[in-house]
């Protein structure tokens, strides 16, 4: 196992909170009536971010936005390469996606391959009217023609750097850090 050698903190807890509030408002701006909006969090950290966004909608607009979770393991394109030994987590979408506007939520946007897998999986659940993408961090280096609609923070990185998003639900603290695998 390679180790993460931290270089700098990018976001602290307060900044993550404010960023999510801003992103929630951007969703609202793009769809003021919140018509047929659903949130789909990508396992693992995307799910917690989606839950927080759902809570902000409830608090500020007093609306309940449906929330689903997506585990893309079974749709990965690297299942048969480089020693991937994935853990299969749960996909849970308890509502019909047909004609909904999906906001896909993930922590870090990097190559775009996770999103490709997520889109394939979503389409097996129905035919949404539109799919948009929300990420906390966009670190560049796309390998597919994919872009995010709502971006928390753009962080220019080099290929050998990594971005770690830590969330209190899983990691005991809210922060985003940049570092290198050593």
């Amino acid at each position: 196992m390679s180790q993460f050698k931290e270089k700098a903190k990018i976001l602290n807890a307060e900044e993550i909170k404010r960023t999510l509030q801003r992103l929630t408002h951007q969703i609202l701006e793009s769809n003021p009536a919140l018509m047929d909006i659903v949130l789909i969090g990508i396992e693992t950290r995307g799910v917690y971010l989606a839950k927080r966004i759902q809570a902000i909608f409830k608090e500020t607009e007093n609306v309940d936005i449906p929330l689903g979770t997506l585990d893309i393991t079974l749709y990965r394109d690297d299942l048969t390469t480089v020693g991937v030994k994935p853990q299969v987590k749960e996909t849970k979408i308890n509502f019909d996606l047909t004609d909904k506007t999906v906001v896909l939520v993930d922590d870090v946007l990097f190559t775009g391959r996770t999103i490709r897998a997520a889109l394939d999986e979503l389409m097996d659940f129905g035919r949404p009217k539109a799919v948009t993408l929300l990420v906390l961090v966009d670190r560049g280096h796309r390998e597919l023609p994919i872009r995010a609609d709502f971006v928390g923070k753009n962080i220019p990185t080099s290929q050998n750097e990594t971005v770690e998003v830590r969330l209190s639900e899983l990691d005991g603290i809210d922060e985003v850090a940049i570092g290198e695998k050593v």
Partner: protein, 319 residues
């Protein structure tokens, strides 16, 4: 914080439960829980095993296990070929190893095998680079059946640890019983086996089970009862004077269940001999989870196929 993510599946085959650790068994059950959702989707298919080929090689008749494996493989997008040996070159005298190597030469990734000889799956797995999944070998083990029984128990009761589980029927000739005993005891359940004395193998207590020939004793305090099929094709029937007598002495009836816990879970690996192991009103009654077992079998077999395929890919890359 979430734990349990540290353990990985590293075996290319699934041959038995005897040689699995508690953690490995729990990993299969956990993975199966994730796979169960796939069968509830409108598109009941995920691309996880796209491009893989699975051969079902069955040396004994089987409907539900073979179909369950076939459905599982297809829901993972694998290609499936079924070989029933009655209509194959096995009839011309080809040995098991030769058959296996020929199948492997077709670039098949996973062989799911049922064989009437105990140990056949282990022997084949040693000879092949392809993954081998034991779908029942003689009187030895039937690991996926026990896994789906445990999955069903865990789903119904939330745990395995500390449960009282009674297995009733032909213990001597039953691979289902043996796999269940290994799996349940590893996960901390207390297992009782119940059968006419002649159908209880000597020294079975050494596996850590309680033995009785009294059905009331097996039912008392049990959280679940797993009723085995009387295997008339495998000599079970010679052990007692008549089927009616077996039913009278060991058959599970509504009347008998009155002495058991009210919400006792009744399982059966199928196919049921109605009126021999259990009465119809029990088989179709509220305590029965027999059809849920069939549904859960798909999820468990999807998990097993997925895990062995991943592990085998990993092994090949490392070399």
């Amino acid at each position: 914080m979430r734990k349990s993510n540290n353990i990985n599946w590293a075996k290319k085959d699934l041959l038995d439960l005897e040689n699995l650790s508690r953690e490995e068994i729990e990993l299969i059950l956990q993975t199966a829980a994730s796979f169960k959702e796939v069968s509830t989707r409108e598109v009941k298919k995920v691309p996880a095993l796209r491009g893989k080929t699975v051969v079902n090689l069955f040396y004994e008749p089987s409907t539900r296990t073979r179909i369950s494996f076939e459905v599982a493989a297809k829901r993972l997008s694998a290609d499936v070929i079924n070989i029933a040996t009655e209509t194959s070159s096995v009839r011309k005298g080809e040995t098991l190893i030769d058959t296996g190597k020929n199948i492997e030469a077709l670039k098949v990734d996973i062989i799911v095998m049922r064989h009437n000889y105990s140990g056949a799956a282990v022997m084949l797995a040693r000879q092949l680079k392809a993954s081998v999944v034991n779908a029942g070998d003689g009187w030895h083990e039937h690991p996926t059946q026990a896994l789906l029984d445990m999955f069903t128990l865990r789903e119904k009761l939330g745990r395995i640890e500390g449960l009282n589980v009674s297995i009733v029927g032909d213990i001597a000739h039953s691979r289902v019983a043996r796999s269940n005993i290994w799996g349940l005891t590893k996960l901390g359940a207390k297992v009782t086996v119940c059968a006419p004395k002649i159908l209880i193998p000597p020294a079975i207590e050494q596996l850590g089970v309680r033995v009785t020939s009294n059905i009331e004793e097996a039912l008392a305090g049990a959280d679940a009862i797993n009723v085995l099929r009387m295997q008339f094709e495998r000599d079970s029937g010679k052990a007692f004077p008549s089927q009616l007598e077996y039913f009278k002495t060991f058959g599970i009836t509504k009347e008998r269940l009155k002495s058991a816990k009210k919400d006792i879970i009744v399982m059966h690996p199928g196919p049921i001999n109605r009126g021999i192991e259990m009465s119809s009103d029990v088989a179709d009654g509220e305590n029965s989870v027999i059809l849920e077992q069939v549904t859960n079998g798909i999820a468990v077999r999807m998990a097993v196929l997925f895990l062995v395929a991943q592990a085998n890919d990993y092994i090949k890359i490392k070399k």
